[in-house]
């Protein structure tokens, strides 16, 4: 079967029939971070995929911005400056490297 993957975008060929969870395992992908879509239908991990199926494995993880970032002042809530309840006891904006050992 032809399996379409993202990040980076590519297609791979996997020999069927196989259950969706076996395809994920073969590609070393965790279920919790992906959806398996056959044609345009979402399927569960026990679904059997055949050689003539067109499958998309779609990653679901996003983020990384300061909007949500730990240790980055504001955490998506403050404006203009940091919301006071999010202020650390030490001073001003610290780059991410601050948290490295």
């Amino acid at each position: 079967m032809k399996v379409h993957l993202s990040h980076p975008e590519r297609s791979v060929e996997i020999k069927g029939p196989k259950r969706a969870k076996e395809v994920l395992r073969e590609l070393n992908l965790v279920q919790e971070a992906h959806l398996v879509i056959r044609g345009d239908e979402l399927i569960t991990e026990d679904e059997l995929l055949k050689d003539d199926d067109l499958v998309e494995i779609r990653p679901v993880i996003s983020g990384g911005s300061a909007d949500e970032g730990f240790g980055v002042r504001g955490s998506g809530f403050a404006a203009g400056t940091t919301h006071p309840s999010l202020l650390p006891r030490t001073s001003n904006l610290v780059p991410r490297t601050h948290f490295l050992p």
């Binding site: 992906h34 959806l35 240790g71 809530f77 203009g80």
Partner: protein, 310 residues
């Protein structure tokens, strides 16, 4: 695999709930989780005006969709950061959703273009002020979303932060013992002083996979592509680690974050004392008038540095 509720064919399995759902039952599940979050955390009422921060991604568009379908008065604001090859695509997704889904509900979309308003795109701005792009993005977004919510008198501002966002942020804070943040990681932040909008996260009970599934099943056309600026971020690493744990031990993420919230409610001081503390710390920014702990807020400082460097 069959639906746990109606026994028809399931389209998604949720190991953390030991359940599987068909499309209608899954949509109901998602809506119920959001309804519970809104009620349990006292986020807003049926007559409140809500400003949703949208990005074109699955979470924020799903949030806007859910709020509109549940009868809330929800408008949205999109901040166009001018990221080459990315912002144009995400903006198009938001505009399409606004035209096809939101407009029939009478909801409106506002767009703030960084290139026009701040005079440069996000990459150029972050280079000018020598700060990471994600940090610059966060400062601009927080400022503009709050400004819009306050100036246009919205009762509350809602963001699409989900369970994975909150659990990974908590993990980051715990790993680095950023304990000054630990007691602030709540799904609501009150409008404690004039100039700060109330902020809420109605999706904190739903995982990224569940929200992506909701978007697919409800034909929400979102940007699947990852923001090129986020590559290599620690947040993504923490999410990956948590998802490995979740796969081996379903329920880990919600037990981690919800358990933390439960403990927090037992120890956190009352909201009134938090408001008093905020009032003591804040005064208007000398430049723009928005609340700040310094003389000039971080957004105005950043814009001043950008002008000098140009």
């Amino acid at each position: 695999m069959n639906c746990t509720k109606c026994k028809t064919k399931a389209v998604i399995d949720l190991p953390r709930h030991n359940a599987a759902f068909c499309t209608p039952c899954f949509t109901t599940y998602v809506h119920e989780q959001v309804a519970y979050a809104i009620k349990h955390q006292r986020m807003f009422g049926p007559d409140d005006r809500i400003l949703v921060a949208v990005s074109g991604g699955k979470d924020s568009l799903a949030l806007w969709d859910i709020l509109l379908k549940r009868g809330y008065k929800a408008d949205a604001l999109y901040v166009d950061l001018g990221i080459p090859g990315y912002s144009a695509k995400s903006r198009a997704k938001v505009e399409r959703f606004a035209d096809t889904v939101a407009r029939p509900y009478g909801a409106t979309l506002q767009i703030h273009t960084v290139q026009e308003e701040e005079g440069a795109g996000i990459k150029e701005l972050s280079n000018l002020v020598h700060r990471p792009t994600c940090a610059t993005c966060g400062t601009i977004k927080r400022y503009q979303f709050n400004k819009a919510a306050v100036e246009q008198e919205y009762d509350v501002m809602a963001t699409g932060h989900n369970l994975d966002d909150e659990a990974s942020r908590l993990l980051g804070n715990v790993l680095h013992w950023q304990d000054e943040y630990l007691d602030k990681q709540s799904p609501i932040l009150p409008a404690s002083v004039e100039g700060f909008a109330k902020k809420v996260k109605p999706l904190y009970r739903l995982s990224e996979r569940e929200l992506a599934a909701y978007a697919v099943l409800n034909k929400i056309d979102y940007i699947v592509e990852e923001c090129p600026m986020a590559k290599g971020s620690k947040m993504l690493l923490y999410k990956e680690v948590l998802n490995r744990l979740e796969t081996e031990s379903p329920g880990t993420k919600h037990r981690f974050y919800w358990g933390f919230l439960e403990k927090q409610t037992q120890t956190q001081p009352a909201a009134t004392s938090m408001t008093e503390k905020d009032r003591a710390l804040l005064h208007p920014c000398n430049t723009c008038g928005q609340p700040t702990t310094g003389e000039i807020c971080s957004y105005c400082k950043m814009m001043a540095r950008a002008k000098v460097s140009k």
